[in-house]
Symmetry: C3
Subunit: 358 residues, 3 copies
């Protein structure tokens, strides 16, 4: 933490993502974050520690005694959920994570209430929340805001951690964490994630989840990435460049069925038409071949899994829902556990929980 106080905002902001990582750790070299701002701040070791902690928490939580123990771990802490861009799903998942670890919470989650803060600067609003709470979990339509607020708070007389629950089109690090956790967990008794093939399908241009997950997968060995999309929605060049530079094996295609046959995981995404530059632009794109249904299910290897960040429209047919390979509901629940792990880790309770008697 000390270090964000030793660098000016402009200098910090200008650093490449990977160089920012060191400034966000709880303690130097520990890996565990104090502020969680972007997916790229997690290296493999930290990802695996968080997955292990999430596994531990979900196991402890199975018994009533264990659940009550977990609720005692952070019972002296209070978290503020500041969602100026409403999202009930992400809100509830973070809320549940807080409740599991015992934090009490306050929230601003609707446009009407949050507009009250429009008269004042973001800095002042965040300082207000930091007066009353011990952590701020924030979601905002404004790109980069979480990063700025983290720097501001670290340089205030009341530094508290920021957890970015989504900022603009840009970053949604806990979504990336839950995706990695789902993959790690799905393959942990089948030889692990190294060497697997992950197929991304849908709107790969505008989905921030794809960008983050693609990056985090480069932390693992020999994970092949396949991008399946209509040409207009294909994965952007900067993502491809990172993979090429790192020597990652990847493929860009429009053949979903071909890709499914070789997939260990198929990551389906929704067409994000809310970002259309002109209304209805997405509707003109033929997306019919980029949906997962009964046919694709037949082609998927027996150990393969189907993922989706949800909500879905018709990218995955409901007939797939009861297939044991459909992982998207469990993926959502995984989000709650990995967020509980992240919050415990942020406050320095990783070791306490890992080594407790439950």
């Amino acid at each position: 933490m000390a270090r964000l106080t030793e660098i000016g905002w402009e200098d910090f902001h200008a650093l490449p993502l990977e160089a920012k990582r060191a400034y966000l750790e709880r303690t130097e070299g520990d890996g565990m974050p104090y502020h969680t701002l972007f997916a790229q701040q997690f290296d493999r070791a930290t990802l695996e520690r968080l997955c292990a902690l999430a596994n531990r928490i979900r196991f402890i939580n199975k018994s009533k005694e264990g659940a009550l123990y977990l609720k005692s771990v952070l019972a002296h802490k209070r978290a503020m959920l500041y969602f100026s861009q409403p999202s009930s799903r992400t809100f509830l998942s973070h809320l549940a994570a807080c409740q599991i670890m015992g934090l009490t919470t306050g929230s601003v989650r609707d446009a009407a209430t949050s507009s009250e803060f429009k008269g004042e600067s973001h800095e002042d609003s965040i300082r207000t929340f930091s007066s009353y709470f011990d952590m701020i979990i924030m979601r905002s339509p404004e790109q980069g805001l979480a990063e700025k607020m983290a720097w501001e708070l670290s340089n205030s007389s009341r530094p508290i951690p920021i957890l970015n629950a989504g900022s603009g089109k840009d970053q949604h690090p806990t979504q990336a964490l839950l995706d990695i956790y789902t993959l790690v967990r799905s393959f942990e008794e089948k030889g692990g994630l190294d060497g697997r093939t992950v197929v991304f399908c849908g709107d790969l241009m505008r989905g921030r989840t794809v960008r983050s997950l693609s990056y985090l997968l480069t932390n693992f060995r020999d994970v092949r990435q396949v991008f399946v999309a209509p040409q207009e929605l294909q994965v952007p060049a900067d993502v491809v460049m990172i993979l090429a530079k790192k020597g990652i094996d990847f493929e860009v295609t429009d053949d979903l069925r071909g890709a499914v046959k070789t997939a260990d995981a198929v990551y389906m995404t929704r067409i994000q038409d809310e970002w259309d530059s002109s209304k209805g632009a997405s509707a003109k794109i033929d997306t019919s071949r980029f949906k997962f249904g009964a046919e694709e299910l037949k082609l998927l290897p027996k150990d393969g899994i189907i993922m989706h960040p949800l909500p879905r429209r018709d990218e995955i047919a409901t007939c797939c829902d009861h297939d044991p390979r459909a992982m998207y509901w469990r993926q959502m629940r995984n989000g709650m556990w990995i967020r509980a792990a992240l919050i415990a880790g942020t406050f320095g309770f990783e070791k306490t929980v890992m080594e407790c008697g439950y």
Copy 2:
């Protein structure tokens, strides 16, 4: 629980209400509900057990030690209050019931937030909530939705109980429970509810509370029911038919004062003009003779009670509020206790609470 997985949705949905009861029990033949969907699922024995449990909880809660014990009973559980049809009164009562038993809660309660879920199917939304919580308390303008969701969840890989906090014009089972609890409690030291006369007055056509309570009263012996309303708002034929079939003594009249003289309980209701088929239709009906005021108070027997589901407009004059027979405020508070009892029972803690040392 096992049993909802052994019947298809169409078959289940087509069953008569009483036949559905067995599918909703925690364990076969136990009576205590797992899903609470409609008033008719409660038989007399279960009603009396819930009333006894509510009495026990309110007694235990009188001391600080008792209150803290109660908060420990379900401290390992989390409830989701999903109110797509806002109702702060019902919301707060369920919230308080959860808090008494120690559950932490999440909520969606305003139209703006809940509209986010409109893009996805009800099934997917409910699966989302079931990922993060251990119980869903739901209120919806859509008739039958709670029943569908209960079936869906019971057939998912994460079955959790549904508590219907009001669905459409149709069912509001916990309102019926609190009405019964208020009657049982009011007469428990005066010989009980059997043989009493209950007078319903007001908008009997559209009030779902009247329909539910009328039905539940048939579980008791010789409870005479009197329906007082303007002709346009009288009790519907299907309610009358059930009473007739069961050989219940009942009367349909427009003479409130005459009815009050013989009443053990007078259940006043509000004109529900929000359901008017054309705007202002209710305003044309002369309801002046269907209000409870100083005159009616004089006519009411000294052990008689006045009930109202609240909110009221002018159906009961405020001059009645301080009369010891005015039971409507206590009735509201009873709602909190019976809901706490229902939640405790749903999770299988009836015996634990009944037999605890407090």
Copy 3:
């Protein structure tokens, strides 16, 4: 408490503020409030007890064990936050105070939800909340409403305390408490508040915080009050009259810099243009000389402090924020502690907390 039941509403309402005080105490002559309705109900002894209790609570809360102890003190109580006039800042501060002392909470805080209650009388709404909760923390645009509700509840079969979190243009007693607490705390190791000079600057006509704080300062010895404002926004005659009657040393001026030189505390306020009688009226007033910036900072004595009730616009330049004399962020956090103290005191736990072993 007994006493509000011995006086009719009209008689109580007509009493001068100071005469009402005795009716609001927990127990006769104790000073500690049962209902908290207006700033003027606090005498110096009670203010000092609340400040001491707030200090104690913030000290205890520093350790995890202490924080958990505090959470146990009122864990058997539930508070309702009824904010029909939304204010997230005040809402969150009261919420955090409740959480620190262990109360669970329910809330109505948005216009849409609270409009549901418009169909019924305020009395009925408040009775509803009193059915489910043990305390009502209310904010309302309606002047005097909290007082009426306190009288109503004290005369009902379920009396519970009312805490006024702001009613109309009129009263906001907990803001006055946190202001006093900030002053007391800032000077407690420097000889105390007696004999100090407090400078008020900005919109002194419409700020209820100025009115309340000015009054409470008369409880202390020889506190000189200086009012700095453009003529159109100067302190109203009734405030001046109270000071004159009590023989308080005060000054009315438009010279901020001159006042700052002699100030122990400068209390800056925002132009409250939301109360403008015609739109834009405030914008025509030249307020440029009533802002605190780098120049004023130079003139402020080294032990002087800068206060602001927040939110601010440009009344205080952000370049002042890191000066150790800038007290406004700590002032906000003080609000949380003094409210926690007030709630503990309201429920009779002052002694318990003051004498606990932490």
